[in-house]
Symmetry: C2
Subunit: 103 residues, 2 copies
């Protein structure tokens, strides 16, 4: 285990969509781009089949809190609740260690 | 914030596949079923587009370590490195809080 590992945070967003997907893809792209501009943002990964999983990584809990309260993001969250999501779950996690493989 | 929240652990497995997908889907299903049988397993979510994201949830770091070292899982990991994965990253995380929405 590396001793110089600096903990950071992951937000695991898991969702199931409704049948109303109008405007969703555009908003998702817009929010991803906006997230990337925020202080403390590290990276983001997304995939969707029956379930959608988006994991964003942040330097601190403060950065996550600020992103959650961002005005444009609040508008997107309200539209998500009203139209696009049948279900979602948000988990705030501390990344404690990691390892990678690359061919 | 709920005061009765019991922390648990997430393993975020992010991967990019090679062109060799022979046997992959069967193995992935087999490993998911095997994981579900392990002590300390809670749940698992998967989605794949350009990138694959699988997040499994566990009651303890010991349960994660035991699953990592499970004989059949070690065989699958070796095949993954040899054939199926161009890249993967594993992050061990402590889930500190969460919230859900359901329509």
């Amino acid at each position: 285990m590396k001793t110089d590992f600096t903990p950071y945070y992951a937000v695991i967003f898991t969702s199931i969509q409704t049948e109303d997907t109008e405007g969703y893809a555009e908003m998702a792209e817009q929010m991803e781009n906006l997230a990337k501009d925020q202080t403390g943002f590290i990276s983001i990964d997304s995939a969707r089949n029956a379930i959608g999983i988006t994991v964003s990584y942040w330097e601190s809990l403060e950065a996550i809190q600020q992103w959650k309260q961002h005005t444009d993001h609040l508008v997107a969250q309200q539209k998500g609740i009203k139209n696009w999501y049948a279900y979602y779950n948000v988990k705030i996690c501390k990344v404690e260690r990691e390892y990678s493989f690359e061919k």
